[in-house]
Amino acid sequence: AQSVTQPDIHITVSEGASLELRCNYSYGATPYLFWYVQSPGQGLQLLLKYFSGDTLVQGIKGFEAEFKRSQSSFNLRKPSVHWSDAAEYFCAVGGGGKLIFGQGTELSVKP
């Protein structure tokens, strides 16, 4: 069955510290992978996507993610977190025009 697991429900990091949000997926074929961010009261905004090619993808707002097929993972990283990065982050796997989302990781940023 197709699924996405985000093991961390809530993460708190200090402003300026590095960040890694974990995502593991289960998908029968080559996956299309996405990270979305959702600020309170807002819809989902696409941060980055992986379709094929280079396994390290760059996104908006200084985020990057690395696709590791052997580990079925697509972890999101940022070298230095800003207070405005506090939000909910969703990993998703796509295929056939559909997206399956993980349950999300809420990021809090300490001053």
């Binding site: 807002q42 819809g43 989902l44 696409l46 969703f90 056939g96 025009g97």
Partner: protein, 114 residues
């Protein structure tokens, strides 16, 4: 380019009442989705349209939920009658035919059923 528009942004109703949500997708985007996002969870697909035809409604509780997309543009999602467990954010998203599954999301409608 204008994004996906949804209205209303917030709605509070009593259980057993009916409610409708409206979505206007990005011009030219043929595929439209409705998702339900319960607090603390990721969005769950309710229904997918391609132009004005239904592609997938397997997760739509058809005894109380209905959706239509007349003329292949705007879409409405209706709940009748509402239950307490329908309290959620209802997200509309769309996709252009040439994209690799990338979907664009509206701001959502937050429904509270009392």
């Amino acid at each position: 380019e204008a994004g996906v528009a949804q209205s209303p942004r917030y709605k509070i109703i009593e259980k057993r009442q009916s409610v409708a949500f409206w979505c206007n997708p990005i011009s030219g985007h043929a595929t439209l989705y409705w998702y339900q996002q319960i607090l603390g969870q990721g969005p769950k697909l309710l229904i997918q349209f391609q132009n004005n035809g239904v592609v997938d409604d397997s997760q739509l509780p058809k005894d109380r939920f209905s959706a239509e997309r007349l003329k292949g543009v705007d879409s409405t999602l209706k709940i009748q009658p509402a239950k307490l467990e329908d309290s959620a954010v209802y997200l509309c998203a769309d996709r252009e035919s040439s994209s690799y599954n990338e979907q664009f999301f509206g701001p959502g409608t937050r429904l509270t059923v009392l």
